[in-house]
Protein backbone atom coordinates (compact mmCIF):
# COMPACT_ATOMS: atom_id res chain seq x y z
CA UNK A 1 0.00 0.00 0.00
CA UNK A 2 1.27 3.47 -0.85
CA UNK A 3 1.40 5.90 2.06
CA UNK A 4 -0.91 8.37 0.35
CA UNK A 5 -3.49 5.59 -0.09
CA UNK A 6 -3.18 4.71 3.62
CA UNK A 7 -3.61 8.38 4.53
CA UNK A 8 -6.63 8.65 2.22
CA UNK A 9 -8.27 5.60 3.81
CA UNK A 10 -7.65 7.02 7.29
CA UNK A 11 -8.93 10.50 6.40
CA UNK A 12 -12.12 9.04 4.89
CA UNK A 13 -12.91 7.13 8.08
CA UNK A 14 -12.35 10.00 10.53
CA UNK A 15 -15.39 12.08 11.43
CA UNK A 16 -15.29 14.18 14.61
CA UNK A 17 -11.79 12.99 15.59
CA UNK A 18 -8.96 15.53 15.75
CA UNK A 19 -5.89 14.62 13.69
CA UNK A 20 -2.28 15.68 14.24
CA UNK A 21 -0.25 14.98 11.10
CA UNK A 22 3.48 14.47 10.92
CA UNK A 23 5.89 16.90 9.25
CA UNK A 24 6.88 16.63 5.60
CA UNK A 25 5.20 14.62 2.89
CA UNK A 26 2.63 12.96 5.20
CA UNK A 27 1.08 16.38 5.95
CA UNK A 28 1.25 17.37 2.30
CA UNK A 29 -0.38 14.10 1.24
CA UNK A 30 -3.16 14.46 3.83
CA UNK A 31 -3.78 18.06 2.75
CA UNK A 32 -3.94 16.92 -0.90
CA UNK A 33 -6.35 14.00 -0.37
CA UNK A 34 -8.61 15.74 2.16
CA UNK A 35 -8.38 19.03 4.02
CA UNK A 36 -10.40 19.63 7.17
CA UNK A 37 -10.47 22.07 10.13
CA UNK A 38 -9.95 18.96 12.29
CA UNK A 39 -6.43 18.54 10.82
CA UNK A 40 -3.32 20.06 12.38
CA UNK A 41 -0.49 19.94 9.84
CA UNK A 42 3.01 19.94 11.30
CA UNK A 43 5.46 22.03 9.29
CA UNK A 44 8.42 21.53 11.64
CA UNK A 45 9.47 19.89 14.91
CA UNK A 46 10.14 16.37 13.66
CA UNK A 47 9.40 13.73 16.29
CA UNK A 48 6.70 15.70 18.07
CA UNK A 49 3.52 14.27 16.51
CA UNK A 50 2.84 11.71 19.25
CA UNK A 51 3.60 14.29 21.97
CA UNK A 52 1.36 16.99 20.50
CA UNK A 53 -1.36 14.34 20.17
CA UNK A 54 -0.94 13.26 23.79
CA UNK A 55 -1.12 16.83 25.10
CA UNK A 56 -4.25 17.49 23.04
CA UNK A 57 -5.89 14.25 24.23
CA UNK A 58 -5.22 15.11 27.88
CA UNK A 59 -6.53 18.67 27.47
CA UNK A 60 -9.99 17.91 26.07
CA UNK A 61 -12.45 15.07 25.52
CA UNK A 62 -12.63 14.57 21.76
CA UNK A 63 -10.79 11.63 20.29
CA UNK A 64 -7.32 12.44 18.97
CA UNK A 65 -5.51 10.58 16.20
CA UNK A 66 -1.78 11.30 15.76
CA UNK A 67 -0.21 10.23 12.47
CA UNK A 68 3.46 9.50 13.06
CA UNK A 69 6.29 7.99 11.01
CA UNK A 70 8.92 5.40 11.89
CA UNK A 71 11.79 7.90 11.67
CA UNK A 72 9.87 10.40 13.78
CA UNK A 73 8.84 7.89 16.42
CA UNK A 74 12.44 6.67 16.68
CA UNK A 75 13.44 10.27 17.45
CA UNK A 76 11.05 10.37 20.40
CA UNK A 77 10.69 6.76 21.62
CA UNK A 78 10.30 7.96 25.22
CA UNK A 79 6.92 9.30 24.12
CA UNK A 80 5.52 5.74 24.07
CA UNK A 81 6.39 5.41 27.77
CA UNK A 82 4.73 8.72 28.65
CA UNK A 83 1.61 7.95 26.59
CA UNK A 84 1.18 4.55 28.22
CA UNK A 85 1.73 5.97 31.72
CA UNK A 86 -0.71 8.87 31.21
CA UNK A 87 -3.28 6.38 29.86
CA UNK A 88 -5.41 8.70 27.67
CA UNK A 89 -8.59 6.82 26.73
CA UNK A 90 -9.20 9.14 23.76
CA UNK A 91 -5.84 8.78 22.01
CA UNK A 92 -4.86 6.74 18.94
CA UNK A 93 -1.29 6.74 17.64
CA UNK A 94 -1.07 5.61 14.01
CA UNK A 95 2.43 4.73 12.85
CA UNK A 96 2.88 4.92 9.06
CA UNK A 97 6.00 2.79 8.74
CA UNK A 98 7.90 2.85 5.44
CA UNK A 99 11.20 1.86 7.09
CA UNK A 100 12.83 5.05 5.88
CA UNK A 101 13.11 8.82 6.23
CA UNK A 102 10.81 9.41 3.27
CA UNK A 103 10.85 13.20 3.20
CA UNK A 104 14.64 13.49 3.14
CA UNK A 105 15.47 11.00 0.37
CA UNK A 106 14.40 7.61 1.74
CA UNK A 107 17.43 6.86 3.90
CA UNK A 108 16.80 3.61 5.85
CA UNK A 109 15.65 3.70 9.48
CA UNK A 110 16.12 0.91 12.03
CA UNK A 111 12.42 0.08 11.59
CA UNK A 112 13.63 -2.40 8.94
CA UNK A 113 15.32 -4.45 11.69
CA UNK A 114 13.23 -3.56 14.76
CA UNK A 115 9.50 -4.19 14.99
CA UNK A 116 8.05 -1.02 16.52
CA UNK A 117 4.80 -2.81 17.43
CA UNK A 118 6.76 -5.10 19.74
CA UNK A 119 8.22 -2.04 21.47
CA UNK A 120 4.73 -0.58 21.99
CA UNK A 121 3.51 -3.93 23.34
CA UNK A 122 6.54 -4.24 25.63
CA UNK A 123 5.83 -0.76 27.00
CA UNK A 124 2.35 -2.00 27.86
CA UNK A 125 -0.04 -0.87 25.10
CA UNK A 126 -2.98 -3.28 25.29
CA UNK A 127 -4.81 -2.30 22.14
CA UNK A 128 -2.44 -2.62 19.20
CA UNK A 129 -3.39 -3.21 15.57
CA UNK A 130 -1.29 -4.11 12.53
CA UNK A 131 -2.23 -3.47 8.90
CA UNK A 132 -0.57 -4.19 5.58
CA UNK A 133 -3.68 -3.99 3.42
CA UNK A 134 -7.38 -3.26 3.94
CA UNK A 135 -6.98 -0.40 6.37
CA UNK A 136 -10.36 -0.65 8.08
CA UNK A 137 -10.39 1.46 11.26
CA UNK A 138 -13.81 0.30 12.54
CA UNK A 139 -12.36 -1.61 15.50
CA UNK A 140 -9.54 0.88 16.02
CA UNK A 141 -11.94 3.79 16.47
CA UNK A 142 -14.02 1.80 18.98
CA UNK A 143 -11.06 0.53 21.03
CA UNK A 144 -10.21 2.09 24.38
CA UNK A 145 -7.09 4.22 24.28
CA UNK A 146 -4.25 4.53 24.28
CA UNK A 147 -4.26 2.61 20.98
CA UNK A 148 -1.20 1.87 18.84
CA UNK A 149 -1.77 1.19 15.12
CA UNK A 150 1.11 -0.03 12.96
CA UNK A 151 0.60 0.41 9.21
CA UNK A 152 3.31 -0.87 6.87
CA UNK A 153 3.48 1.29 3.74
CA UNK A 154 5.66 1.43 0.63
CA UNK A 155 8.54 3.84 0.31
CA UNK A 156 8.10 6.92 -1.83
CA UNK A 157 6.21 10.20 -1.77
CA UNK A 158 3.25 11.27 -3.87
CA UNK A 159 3.66 14.22 -6.23
CA UNK A 160 1.68 16.72 -4.16
CA UNK A 161 2.26 20.45 -3.64
CA UNK A 162 3.38 22.15 -0.42
CA UNK A 163 0.64 23.29 1.94
CA UNK A 164 -0.47 26.79 1.02
CA UNK A 165 -1.66 27.74 4.51
CA UNK A 166 0.27 29.90 6.98
CA UNK A 167 1.23 28.18 10.27
CA UNK A 168 -0.96 30.56 12.27
CA UNK A 169 -3.88 29.90 9.96
CA UNK A 170 -3.51 26.13 10.52
CA UNK A 171 -3.41 26.67 14.28
CA UNK A 172 -6.30 29.11 14.50
CA UNK A 173 -8.64 27.11 12.29
CA UNK A 174 -7.88 23.99 14.33
CA UNK A 175 -8.46 25.73 17.67
CA UNK A 176 -11.72 27.28 16.45
CA UNK A 177 -12.94 23.81 15.48
CA UNK A 178 -12.11 22.47 18.95
CA UNK A 179 -13.83 25.36 20.71
CA UNK A 180 -16.99 25.48 18.59
Amino acid sequence: MKRIDAIKRIAEQLKDELAICNIGFPSRELYAVKDSPTHFYMLGSMGMSSSIGLGLALAQERKVVALDGDGSLLMNLGSLVTIYSQDPKNFILILLDNECYGSTGSQCTYASTVNLSLIAEAVGFKNTFQFKENLDLTHVLKAEGPVFVHVKVEQGNADVPVIDMEPEEIKERFMENINK
Binding site: I52, G55, G78, P167, E168
Partner: protein, 145 residues
Protein backbone atom coordinates in the same frame (compact mmCIF):
# COMPACT_ATOMS: atom_id res chain seq x y z
CA UNK B 1 2.16 21.40 33.32
CA UNK B 2 4.97 19.10 32.36
CA UNK B 3 8.04 18.51 34.46
CA UNK B 4 11.53 17.13 34.56
CA UNK B 5 13.34 17.02 37.84
CA UNK B 6 16.00 19.28 39.28
CA UNK B 7 17.05 19.12 42.91
CA UNK B 8 16.04 22.78 43.27
CA UNK B 9 12.57 22.20 41.75
CA UNK B 10 11.70 19.24 44.01
CA UNK B 11 9.22 21.08 46.25
CA UNK B 12 7.48 22.85 43.36
CA UNK B 13 7.05 19.55 41.52
CA UNK B 14 5.50 18.02 44.66
CA UNK B 15 3.07 20.94 44.93
CA UNK B 16 2.13 20.68 41.24
CA UNK B 17 1.56 16.96 41.61
CA UNK B 18 -0.80 17.49 44.59
CA UNK B 19 -2.84 20.29 42.99
CA UNK B 20 -6.18 18.98 41.65
CA UNK B 21 -6.48 21.99 39.32
CA UNK B 22 -3.28 21.10 37.47
CA UNK B 23 -2.79 18.25 35.00
CA UNK B 24 0.78 17.16 35.76
CA UNK B 25 2.65 15.17 33.13
CA UNK B 26 6.18 14.07 34.05
CA UNK B 27 8.11 13.49 30.81
CA UNK B 28 11.19 11.58 29.68
CA UNK B 29 12.93 14.47 27.91
CA UNK B 30 12.38 18.22 27.63
CA UNK B 31 11.63 18.26 23.90
CA UNK B 32 8.80 15.79 24.43
CA UNK B 33 7.43 18.01 27.20
CA UNK B 34 7.28 20.97 24.85
CA UNK B 35 5.35 18.88 22.31
CA UNK B 36 2.81 17.87 24.97
CA UNK B 37 2.37 21.50 26.07
CA UNK B 38 1.80 22.60 22.47
CA UNK B 39 -0.95 19.99 22.10
CA UNK B 40 -2.51 20.96 25.44
CA UNK B 41 -2.55 24.62 24.36
CA UNK B 42 -4.37 23.68 21.14
CA UNK B 43 -6.87 21.92 23.40
CA UNK B 44 -7.46 25.09 25.44
CA UNK B 45 -5.07 24.85 28.40
CA UNK B 46 -2.56 27.29 29.84
CA UNK B 47 0.74 25.46 29.92
CA UNK B 48 4.10 25.55 31.64
CA UNK B 49 7.22 23.40 31.81
CA UNK B 50 9.35 22.91 34.91
CA UNK B 51 12.88 21.93 33.94
CA UNK B 52 16.57 22.42 34.50
CA UNK B 53 18.35 24.73 32.06
CA UNK B 54 20.47 21.76 30.93
CA UNK B 55 17.44 20.55 28.93
CA UNK B 56 17.20 23.76 26.94
CA UNK B 57 19.73 22.42 24.45
CA UNK B 58 17.61 19.48 23.35
CA UNK B 59 14.58 21.73 22.96
CA UNK B 60 15.91 24.38 20.58
CA UNK B 61 14.30 22.93 17.45
CA UNK B 62 10.86 22.39 18.98
CA UNK B 63 10.94 25.94 20.38
CA UNK B 64 11.82 27.36 16.97
CA UNK B 65 9.89 25.18 14.53
CA UNK B 66 6.76 24.56 16.62
CA UNK B 67 6.33 27.31 19.24
CA UNK B 68 7.82 30.25 17.31
CA UNK B 69 6.51 29.08 13.95
CA UNK B 70 2.88 28.69 15.10
CA UNK B 71 3.08 31.43 17.76
CA UNK B 72 2.24 29.16 20.70
CA UNK B 73 2.62 30.46 24.29
CA UNK B 74 4.16 28.60 27.23
CA UNK B 75 5.81 29.56 30.51
CA UNK B 76 9.23 27.95 30.89
CA UNK B 77 10.29 27.76 34.53
CA UNK B 78 13.97 26.93 34.51
CA UNK B 79 16.18 26.06 37.42
CA UNK B 80 19.25 27.92 36.19
CA UNK B 81 22.23 25.88 37.32
CA UNK B 82 25.80 26.98 36.74
CA UNK B 83 25.13 30.46 38.11
CA UNK B 84 26.73 32.17 41.11
CA UNK B 85 27.06 29.71 44.00
CA UNK B 86 27.11 26.57 41.80
CA UNK B 87 29.10 23.76 43.42
CA UNK B 88 29.26 21.45 40.39
CA UNK B 89 31.66 22.51 37.64
CA UNK B 90 29.85 20.38 35.05
CA UNK B 91 26.85 22.73 35.25
CA UNK B 92 28.83 25.85 34.36
CA UNK B 93 29.14 25.63 30.54
CA UNK B 94 25.38 25.16 29.95
CA UNK B 95 24.64 27.65 32.70
CA UNK B 96 26.68 30.28 30.91
CA UNK B 97 25.18 29.41 27.51
CA UNK B 98 21.56 29.55 28.67
CA UNK B 99 20.82 33.31 28.33
CA UNK B 100 22.47 33.35 24.90
CA UNK B 101 20.36 30.42 23.70
CA UNK B 102 17.18 32.18 24.85
CA UNK B 103 18.34 35.41 23.19
CA UNK B 104 19.04 33.58 19.93
CA UNK B 105 15.48 32.24 19.99
CA UNK B 106 14.11 35.68 20.91
CA UNK B 107 12.54 34.27 24.06
CA UNK B 108 12.08 36.93 26.76
CA UNK B 109 13.00 35.94 30.29
CA UNK B 110 12.43 37.17 33.81
CA UNK B 111 15.03 36.88 36.58
CA UNK B 112 13.05 36.87 39.83
CA UNK B 113 15.27 37.03 42.88
CA UNK B 114 12.80 35.61 45.41
CA UNK B 115 9.65 33.41 45.36
CA UNK B 116 7.58 36.55 46.01
CA UNK B 117 9.09 38.20 42.94
CA UNK B 118 8.29 35.10 40.89
CA UNK B 119 4.64 35.13 42.03
CA UNK B 120 4.31 38.81 41.13
CA UNK B 121 5.54 38.40 37.56
CA UNK B 122 3.88 35.07 36.77
CA UNK B 123 0.47 36.21 35.51
CA UNK B 124 2.07 39.04 33.54
CA UNK B 125 4.47 36.53 32.03
CA UNK B 126 1.58 34.43 30.74
CA UNK B 127 -0.11 37.50 29.23
CA UNK B 128 3.14 38.48 27.55
CA UNK B 129 3.51 34.96 26.21
CA UNK B 130 -0.05 34.76 24.90
CA UNK B 131 -0.16 38.27 23.43
CA UNK B 132 3.32 37.96 21.97
CA UNK B 133 2.72 34.45 20.63
CA UNK B 134 6.03 33.25 22.03
CA UNK B 135 7.39 31.24 24.94
CA UNK B 136 8.45 33.29 27.97
CA UNK B 137 11.01 31.99 30.46
CA UNK B 138 11.68 32.48 34.12
CA UNK B 139 15.25 31.80 35.15
CA UNK B 140 15.59 30.80 38.79
CA UNK B 141 19.28 31.15 39.59
CA UNK B 142 21.03 29.40 42.47
CA UNK B 143 20.63 32.52 44.64
CA UNK B 144 16.81 32.29 44.25
CA UNK B 145 16.68 29.26 46.54
Amino acid sequence: MVSLPCINLGKIIEMVDCDPDIIHVPVTREEEGFGICAGAYLGGKKTAILMQNSGLGNSVNVLASLFKLYQIPIIMILSHRGTEGEFMSAQIPMGEATPGVLDALEIAYFLPETPDDACKVLSGAWLLSEMGGSPVAMLLEIGFW
